[in-house]
Symmetry: C5
Subunit: 252 residues, 5 copies
């Protein structure tokens, strides 16, 4: 599990709660209509902005950021080297039996085992990479847009509150609390954007970059296996994707 | 019909109306000159910014976001595989009779049936894709620009109101209501941008991305049919455009 | 003449004037020093930012946005098909006599008539397109930058006014009017940017995109004439630049 | 000398000075600690942001914007045509003696005179162009960043002033002047950014674009001389870099 | 050591401290809960946004900006020329023994000494460059995002303070100090972003650009050594990466 994400959210909200409790007037900070306008408005604008399928994918992806087991670039390099060794020892056909959770790697192995045209394999894997990147970009975009709609609806809520307050200036004593309530929606919008939507979009981007790197390693590895099936050459080339400090042994 | 778009707009405006009614002073929120300056000003700036033809296209596109029947990438892949099967069984000339609503697919089939030069077919389809993307980009741009002009005219209206209020400070009691009226145009501008123009631009972008994906599938499919007319190879390649979970059977 | 541009400017300013007249205190809105600081400051910053030649070009381009007669993509496609027909009937040399106002098309015809190297023709036309796009981009950039400098000088004027007002708080009655005057420069800056500079930059961008599309059609058409001088093939390829609904007859 | 740059700065500051003098309270606008925090803070952030060598280059480049003699694209085209004529008449070796201030043109002539590999010449000139563009981009970046740091430090200064003013509300009469002083740093930051840093960055960008255009002409000219040493063909190709109206004689 | 970075931070904070001390009320500026909300909130959002490994790398990189010894482009060019001389004199195999701290140069030498396929060498070095650039981009991104989260949490802190102040308007005398405290978090956020996070991101970008330039020189040098092992040609090509004024002797 990705504890940093979890603790980041917990600690972020705790700090804000702490500041509210220390400063007093804690119950002022709960305003249901204000919450509804910011959260509801953000969801409404988002559902105008994106197809339902994209929003569904985004909701699923949001939970995915808590999941932990991360495969390193080194692992993928090693996998590709092992596959190169298998294909050299047992022939390209042996790749049919490679077991992997990565659907792109599986497809690459099957295409190679099928003795497909190298150009067609290269095009197909390139399509896999670009299509995946585009699909992930849409999901990130949902959260990025929510991160811009939330503060906007926060401001809209505050404007409504200000107009109401300014129209009904009968009781000067009520100006302060009315203004406080008006400001609350801006506060909600800022928290939703800064502590949830934008960082989640960021984490999804990090995940995509990582997965993209892995797909590039698979792509380059498959190319190498097709061109010149030498595990050492495959390793020399793919290890360049890994930071120097993490490379196992530059020379083996 | 795309209900998410429809309900997004309805719920978004309902939430704002609700907040206005709960808070009272509902009639203050209607200010015809303010609405005119924001909406009229936005339309004026837009008609300076874009040729009339582009604005017309944008108005048509705005209704298009409510339309529903969406063809999935899987459908397009299946169509291309079926076309590959037809062309293999009955020869490339049989593609002349393919019935389709997609004008690019129709053109691709005719060009293949005409036995055109493969390079020329590839160039022509690439032009189709780029030209369509550019035309759609202009339409999105109209709404994106409206989404920046609306808040600007909202601010201009507020500045006019503020100057008038500050000049005529005779009656302190009128300061509040005058200020409320001044703020209203900012409120109108924010709502128009956040709940209409920007999300509509976003939805149009989603539609374009989807259509673009379909055109890419058609392009790659036509390439494959021309190069190596094997439906299974066509499927292997094109299925990479589809998310792994939605692929029918990885192996058939 | 491009009436949309003209009416956009007239209606935009009329709406603002109307709001000022309805709200009263119309003479407050005229403040010559304020206008000088916003307009003069914007011009000063612009003349630091750009070479004089670019500013001159921008001033000329600004009038160009009112000019009307627009050639459609369809017209350019037809011209290229006609040129293909001429060159097929009368030989490439006949292109020497083609009459056209478009300097790039004229150059293309002359280069083809001169029997120049196809690669050199392609490079030369590509240079024409890129050079024109870069020249136009500079002109748009002048107006875009003016659209950012105007609000900045509006804010600078307001800051000057605020500092003066706050320093001389002797007469509380003068605070309101002094504040009103201070706000005016922000108002001027916002109007200049939102109703003039930014929409003009937008219109110039639209014109460039259109002209760019025409140059691309000329480029691809010239390529096709050089490669395979068949008017029907030229039409098939170039018609892909035109939206399907505007294509004359898909089949002739 | 580039008088537009010079007069832009002089007139911009004069307008601001004029507005200050007309409005009175001129001495309020001088606040040494405020100036130090804005200018010093901007320089401090800049020296954290950039290596010393880049800042030195930026300072030198800042004076360069006043220098005037500008070579037009036409001049460079003519030079390349003249070089093509020399090389045709006297052989490629004669280019060794070409005298020019442009170091890239000099290098191109020497490489051609040395009878170097055309591919190597092309790569070398491309490196020259890209390396120069990157070096210039850094210098522009220094001023662009100063244009964002200056307003930020202006705001920081204002926040300090506001906190101090709000803490010491003993004498209500001092609120106005204290607030005026607090606002001053925002004013300084806005002027520095809007009238100096950002326009200077813009002018440097214009210069780079011009120089880049000249290098492209040299690059394409050298290519043409190597491929097909015909001055008329060289002219036909390179004249496409020049706006049609400025081309000498389309036909000679 | 990079003294500019060090002094930039020291002087920047000194100027702000000086302004606080001169203006008085110095102890008001210390507010532990406010600091916690800004710094803690920024770290929380950052740890949601990025994987822990990226944040660790960013922390290490932050210290790296103080380190000084910078290798110039000229040094790298000279190294590559020396390597070309060695490889010419002693054969490509002699590159096995080249001693260098740069892991990419070391890898290039080993691959050449191993007599690897030139295309594979080129691909491998290109992967090294792209992978390094992506890794560095992530680290810069951490600081850029911190530079946007810090002001956001500053504003959130201020909103909390404002709501609390407006709710408890019992004692008018406390309004000023309460407002001062509320503004403090905005002040903290602005300083963290403007004087630390954004300039550090900038310095890391400068370092990356420099390292990237060096890797490009190594890449182009290795290409030249493989293609045409002539030290003078290598020098002619690589010296184009260096500004003309810093080139040793254009002719040797």
């Amino acid at each position: 599990m990705d504890f940093a994400t979890f603790f980041g959210i917990v600690i972020g909200f705790s700090l804000i709660l702490g500041a509210i409790i220390i400063g007093g007037a804690g119950d002022t900070f709960i305003n249901v209509p204000g919450m509804m306008i910011v959260l509801g408005g953000t969801l409404a604008a988002t559902s105008i902005n994106f197809p339902v399928t994209d929003i569904n994918k985004a909701i699923h992806a949001a939970f995915y950021i808590f999941s932990g087991k991360s495969i390193t670039a080194n692992d993928v390099v090693n996998t590709m080297v092992r596959i190169a060794e298998i294909s050299r020892r047992d022939g390209l056909l042996a790749l049919e039996n490679v077991r992997t959770e990565n659907s792109t790697l599986k497809k690459a192995c099957q295409l190679i085992a099928d003795n497909s045209d190298p150009v067609m394999i290269s095009q197909t894997l390139r399509i896999e990479i670009v299509a995946l990147r585009n699909r992930h970009a849409v999901v990130q975009d949902v959260f990025k847009k929510m991160g811009t709609y939330a503060p906007s609806f926060g401001m809209i809520g505050t404007l409504i509150g200000l107009v109401q307050m300014l129209t009904m200036l009968d009781d000067p004593a009520s100006i302060g609390p009315a203004m406080a309530v008006a400001i609350l929606t801006t506060f909600y919008g800022a928290i939703l954007a800064t502590l949830l939507f934008l960082p989640i979009a960021g984490k999804l981007k990090s995940r995509t970059q990582q997965e993209n790197l892995h797909l590039e390693i698979i792509f380059q590895g498959a190319q190498s296996i097709l061109e010149n099936n030498n595990p050492r050459v495959v390793y020399e080339k793919l290890s360049s994707f890994v930071p120097p400090a993490e490379r196992k042994h530059e020379r083996r």
